[in-house]
């Protein structure tokens, strides 16, 4: 717990898992969960560098901005997903090519 590398490794694992979800999942909500994992891994990196590196509290502020952006992104993405469901009766990202038809 006293080394930067531990945190970077955990963050790399979370990033890889999130990327795997984004690539392979077909359900749009599951893709959204993968994006949340990726954003969390970036946040761990920001805070770890602010603890060990030279960026003092700027890392905390940036992590805060990332959390704000994640909230906005989740709201808009779920609105799009519900719109998609109303039009197609499924939220499979392979079939979704238009928002309106």
């Amino acid at each position: 717990m006293e080394y930067l590398q531990n945190y970077l490794l955990v963050s790399a694992i979370l990033f890889s898992l999130g990327l795997f979800a984004v690539i392979t999942r077909r359900n749009a909500v599951a893709v959204l969960m993968g994006v949340e994992l990726i954003l969390n891994s970036a946040n761990i990196n920001f805070v770890a560098f602010s603890r060990f590196g030279g960026m003092n509290f700027s890392g905390h502020v940036f992590a805060l901005f990332v959390i704000i952006m994640a909230a906005a992104e989740a709201a808009v993405a779920l609105a799009i997903i519900i719109n998609l469901y109303n039009n197609y009766q499924s939220i499979n990202v392979d079939e979704a090519s238009q928002l309106k038809r």
């Binding site: 979370l14 077909r26 805070v47 509290f57 905390h60 502020v61």
Partner: protein, 162 residues
Amino acid sequence: MSEFLFWFITALTIGSALMVVLHSNLVYSAIALIVTLFGVAGFYVFLWADFLAGVQVVIYIGGILVLILFGIMLTNKISSVNISHSNLNKGVGAIVVLGIFVIMVRMIFNTPWLQLSKPEPSQTVGEIGRLLMTHYLLPFEVASILLLAALIGSAMLSRKEN
């Protein structure tokens, strides 16, 4: 003790993240995501970011995860009990992700990182507030406009036609 706690939180976070990615039932995935987000909040505490840990619990677990659960419930018919789906192209995806992961691990262990031994800050909230009101004032205001735009946009997208 804290060493043990750190590795416990690490195992919990990675295990539940695996469940998020691989479980076929979406509701279980969302519940596992709660555990992952709590684990990340634990990492923030280890990294002396107590305020961020609180924000993580309030916004991610109290807000975003409830939104995701709503999304799962609204996009599945109540009568169909089985809320599941399988992954697509698992093999190709695993190879690509594993390659990226190996590159990242090599980068992490080969780079000579700057590691300063700093004293633990007595408070973080005051310093974050000072930075938000001085150095990062413009991004702060832009973030509020972004939230307003997301609010209006999502309300407009999800309302019924006519």
